[in-house]
Amino acid sequence: MQRLLTRLAVALTLSFILAPILIVIATAFGEASYVQFPPTGLTLKWFAAAARRPEFQSAGWTSLWLAASSTAIATPFALAAAIGLVRGRFRGRDAIQTFLTSPMIVPGIVISLALLVTSAALGVRSDLRLLGAHVLLTLPYLTRSLIASLLRSDTLIEDAAYTLGASRLQTFLIVTLPGLYEGLLAGMLFALIISFDNVSISLFLASAKSNTLPLAVLSYVEFNYDPSIAALSTVLIVVSIASALVLERAVGLRAALGK
């Protein structure tokens, strides 16, 4: 009886989370020219329609480029920061750590506004300011993940390497870095997803030229309500699940979340 109740609770919770997503996926295959549930008919034409739309194409590339380059730029900084924060002994270490992870806590809208005002005052180019903002956005996720794996790694193996004749750089590259591979992979995947998914910062800082995919979707649904949006969402969901699976496969989600 008790077990039955537990299972029921689990099933209800899961369906509460999953149902809306499943409904979106289902509507992507409907024949009707508006989002309809339950869908009638079965077609792939909305996927083709979404793929043909130039605003989705360019926004899609922008988002991918933005996610990839912000992650690529943030990673070495996050690595340096994590090493300093975990291995270093200096005053204000905790404060800096809190500060570095603050973009995860401070409301996105506040950061966005602050960056908009600052970049306007400094006269930063709009594509650069968006990139800068995304670097800022992804940095804490990477840092946190790397801090977690550095805390797990054994400092004695570094000492062993020194006694065996390795320099600090050699030790870092040959001994420490391979142990950070999991945290690095997890952090980078998270960073990619966070950047790709972000609305609030892009909303403030993107220009017409540098529209991101979530923004394109937003402005599209203001005037249209056809299933091509559902088709696009389906693709994004599949990509997200795929990357979660890759992550799980490679390192285990627990490690990825820095537990």
Partner: protein, 356 residues
């Protein structure tokens, strides 16, 4: 292949004084064991010698060159860590070859030397495995191979045989002794085990709460412990406060309460001085002689069987005395609680401890 001088080294972690003015001279090729209770600073001293921790004061010299400020990697010291510290993502062979790789030895030569070192620790066929695929004792042996393969000038070993069973331990002790002698590697070997220290060492250094309390040959430390702590650590169970009555070339006459003791040790101390006397339990025997040269009588409190031996606690005029006797084949205890027994010991069993 270098002599090592440790000069007035001290170290504190915050308010915790871990090493206090530690000095020792270790000759080229000597094998010194560092013996002391947990937390007395053994690992810290090794880390300072290796260059992994900076001392607050004092100097380390290798072959009369001051290396106090030299980076760890330039000291040419091999170190076996208490927790092995193997590189988890490298194979056993790569682990062992690491020191050679850092010295620019080409791949093939490196693998050959690493395999040889592995054979030395009885792990010839384990080169392809990863450290996680080995038992604790096997990991320890890989760590030993890794530390000796590049023929270090000085070898530091932090309880390297802790996780091994007795047979393997004894085999490796002999192997290690042979190897360090052959290569002439100056070695400092940390252990908790006085038996191991006695077997392996040229000299034993006894450490207590961050200080070197005594350093000497195994026989010196075993027969002439200078402090009560040293005596206890070398397995002396019975201690008595005593007064020196007189000392000559034959030995020392002592008063221990009403009892009179004769020691073979020549106390280099003035008559009338208060010292301590230590006697090992295995040096005390049950005696039929009612008036032995050294001895006392008392009532048996407790008798415990240990297989090879019996331990008998006796309450005597000199205080509580523990003695052990060989059990032999007889299953009967040599004495029973409540019985009055006569105890006796030879004059050379009486250790004079100047610093009680």
């Amino acid at each position: 292949m270098a002599s090592l001088s440790i000069r007035s080294v001290s170290k504190a972690f915050g308010a915790n004084k871990v090493l206090d003015d530690v000095s020792a001279e270790i000759g080229t090729g000597a094998f010194v064991t560092l013996l002391g209770p947990s937390g007395c600073g053994k690992t810290t001293l090794l880390r300072i010698i290796a260059g992994l921790v900076e001392a607050d004061g004092g100097e380390i010299l290798m072959d009369d060159t001051n290396v106090t400020r030299l980076e760890a990697r330039r000291r040419g010291i091999g170190m076996v860590f208490q927790s092995h510290a193997l590189f988890p993502h490298m194979t056993v062979l790569e682990n062992v070859g690491f020191g050679l790789r850092m010295r620019g030895v080409p791949r093939q030569e490196r693998d050959r030397l690493a395999s040889e070192a592995l054979a030395l620790v009885h792990l010839r066929d384990f080169g392809r495995r990863y450290p996680q695929q080995l038992s604790g004792g096997q990991q320890q042996r890989v760590a030993i191979a890794r530390a000796v393969v590049f023929k270090p000038r000085v070898l530091l070993m932090d309880e390297p045989f802790g996780a091994l069973d007795r047979k393997l331990r004894e085999a490796l002790q002999i192997e290690l002794r042979r190897m360090t002698r052959e290569l002439g590697i100056t070695t400092i070997f940390v252990t908790h085990d006085q038996g191991e220290a006695l077997i392996l060492s040229d000299r034993i250094a006894l450490m207590q709460a961050g200080r070197l309390v005594q350093i000497g040959t195994p026989a010196e430390v075993f027969r002439q412990p200078q402090t009560r702590f040293a005596a206890e650590f070398m397995g002396v169970e019975n201690f008595f406060a005593a007064q020196i009555l007189g000392s000559d070339a034959d030995g020392t006459a002592l008063a221990c309460g009403a009892a009179r003791l004769l020691s073979r040790v020549q106390a280099k101390l003035p008559a009338g001085g208060g010292i301590a006397v230590g006697i090992r339990a295995e040096d005390i025997a049950l005696s039929d002689d009612a008036h032995p040269v050294n001895g006392t009588s008392g009532e048996v409190r407790d008798v415990v069987y240990h297989g090879n031996t019996w331990t008998i606690s006796v309450s005597s005029a000199m205080g509580e005395i523990v003695c052990t006797t060989q059990a032999g084949a007889a299953a009967n205890p040599p004495a029973n609680p409540g019985e009055t027994v006569q105890l006796a010991w030879r004059p050379d069993a009486v250790l004079v401890i100047p610093d009680p």
